[in-house]
Symmetry: C2
Subunit: 257 residues, 2 copies
C-alpha cells in the first residue's frame, strides 16, 4: 500500500518537492508519460481500467515496462485522484531534475516566463503552448502555481515530460539572462503594440524571454522592473483582456526565432 | 419562487432555447452583464453576497436597475448554480435574438466558426478571443456545445454579451457566405503552413471565416468539404497539438483584417 499512501501524499506541493515525484492521471496522460524518458515510480489501477481496449493496452504496456503496479478499489483510487471522474489509472513519476544552469542555450532561443500565473489550467495550457511553439523552457517565477500540480500536468497534456519546465527566483533568472545575454520582454496591456516594439528593435532579440503575468493583476513589480520592453496586443475596447495562454501563444508565435 | 425554478430549469439546453434565457453566475460576470444592453429577467442572491464591498455594490446596482431579486438560502442557491463554489449571485438574462441574416458585414471582416468544439471552457475562451481580436461574430455549427451553457458563459467572461454569438447550420452558413462573399479557411494539422497559405493568396481574403474543429477529432467532413484552404501552424514534433483557443488566437491575429 506504499504506492497508495505516496499518491495521496503527492497531492501536496511540499511532498512533491521533497520527493521529486509527481502524479499523472488518466489513460492519455499516462500513455504520454510512457513515451517520455521519465522514470515511472509506480502505478495505481482501479477496477475496470482493462475493460476498454485502450485501457487494457495501457495496462499491458505498463506491465511490460515493469512498473510496480497496485490494484486498488474504486474508493481508494478516488482518494488519491485529483479528477472528479478518474479514468482508473494514475502513475507516479520522477520529475526531471532541471536547473537553469544546465540549460543549453542555442544562438536563437525563446523562453516563457510565468510571473504569478495562478490558474492550473492556464499554467498547463501555457506549458503546452510553449512546448508546441518551440520555446527552450518555461520558467515558473514566485507566485506561480506549482508546475507539477496534477491539474497543471493534466492540462499540459504531457508537455512538461519533454519541455524543460522549472521554478526559479528572479535572481536566478537575472544571472541566467546575464550569462547568456537573454533579453526580457513582458506582456502588459499598457505596453507598446507588439508590431511597434518589433519594428523599433528591427526584429526581436535573438535570445528572448517573454513574461506573462497573473490573470487578474498582471505583471509583478519584479517583472516590470526588469523587462526591457512591455508589449501589448491590440484588442477590442469592450473586452478586458485575452486569456493569458492565448496571449502568450500569439506573442510566442509572432516573436518566434 | 418562480425565479428559483426558472434558474434550475435553465441548466437544460432545451429550456434555454425555448425561453431565450440564460444564466450568468458570479460577481464579475453579473457586473459585465449590467454593463451590456441585455435584459435582466431576475436575480438570485444567496446569504453573504453583500458582506464583501464588491458584492454589496453589485447588489445596490441590481436594485437600482429594478431587476426582480430573490433572496434564497445557500442550499437553494447551490441547487440552481452550476459552479461548485458559487459566489452568491446569479442573474437570468435574455439571450440576444440574433440571426446570420441580420449581421451587417463590413468590407473587411473576420468570423470564427466553431466546428464541433465540445469543451465549454474552450468554447468560452474562443468567444473571448474572437471578441478581443475584433471578429464580427462567432458561429457554433452542429456538434458544438451550446454557447449559452453556464460554463461557456463563465469562461467567455462576458464576451457574448456584446460579441454576436450564434448557432447555425452549414446550409445557413453556405447561404450567408455566398451572399456576402465570405471565404472559408479551416485550421487543420495537415493543412498548408499559415505563412505559405497567406503568401499564395497574396494576403488573406477581405472577408474570411475561420473554422476550428473538435478538440480530439479535428474538422468535420462538412467543414473539410467547404473550406477553400486548410491551414496549419508549425509545431514541435513532440507536441500533439495546440489548444484550440490558442490556435484560433494565433490564426485570428495573423489573419486580422
Amino acid at each position: 500500500l506504499r504506492l497508495l499512501t505516496l499518491a495521496r501524499d503527492l497531492r501536496r506541493r511540499k511532498a512533491r518537492e521533497r520527493q521529486g515525484l509527481f502524479v499523472v492521471e488518466g489513460v492519455r496522460a499516462v500513455e504520454e508519460l510512457l513515451r517520455s524518458s521519465l522514470r515511472v515510480e509506480g502505478v495505481l489501477v482501479a477496477p475496470g481500467l482493462a475493460d476498454a481496449p485502450r485501457g487494457a493496452a495501457l495496462r499491458e504496456q505498463l506491465e511490460a515496462r515493469g512498473a510496480p503496479m497496485l490494484d486498488v478499489s474504486a474508493r481508494d483510487f478516488a482518494s488519491a485522484a485529483d479528477t472528479e471522474t478518474p479514468q482508473g489509472v494514475l502513475a507516479i513519476a520522477a520529475a526531471p531534475a532541471l536547473s537553469l544552469d544546465a540549460l543549453v542555450v542555442p544562438p536563437a532561443a525563446r523562453l516563457l516566463v510565468l510571473d504569478g500565473v495562478q490558474d492550473p489550467g492556464n499554467a498547463g495550457t501555457l506549458l503546452r503552448t510553449a512546448a508546441a511553439l518551440g520555446a527552450l523552457a518555461t520558467l515558473a517565477l514566485p507566485g506561480t502555481v506549482d508546475l507539477w500540480n496534477a491539474k497543471v500536468v493534466r492540462s499540459a497534456m504531457g508537455a512538461q515530460f519533454h519541455h524543460p519546465s522549472l521554478a526559479c527566483t528572479w535572481e536566478e533568472l537575472d544571472r541566467f539572462r546575464s550569462v547568456h545575454r537573454v533579453a526580457l520582454w513582458a506582456a502588459d496591456m499598457g505596453g507598446a503594440p507588439l508590431a511597434v516594439a518589433v519594428a523599433a528593435e528591427e526584429g526581436p532579440p535573438a535570445r528572448l524571454a517573454l513574461a506573462v503575468g497573473n490573470e487578474g493583476n498582471g505583471l509583478s513589480a519584479a517583472a516590470r522592473a526588469r523587462a526591457e520592453r512591455l508589449v501589448s496586443l491590440p484588442i477590442a475596447p469592450a473586452v478586458e483582456s485575452l486569456n493569458v495562454a492565448v496571449a502568450a501563444g500569439i506573442l510566442l508565435y509572432e516573436l518566434r526565432a
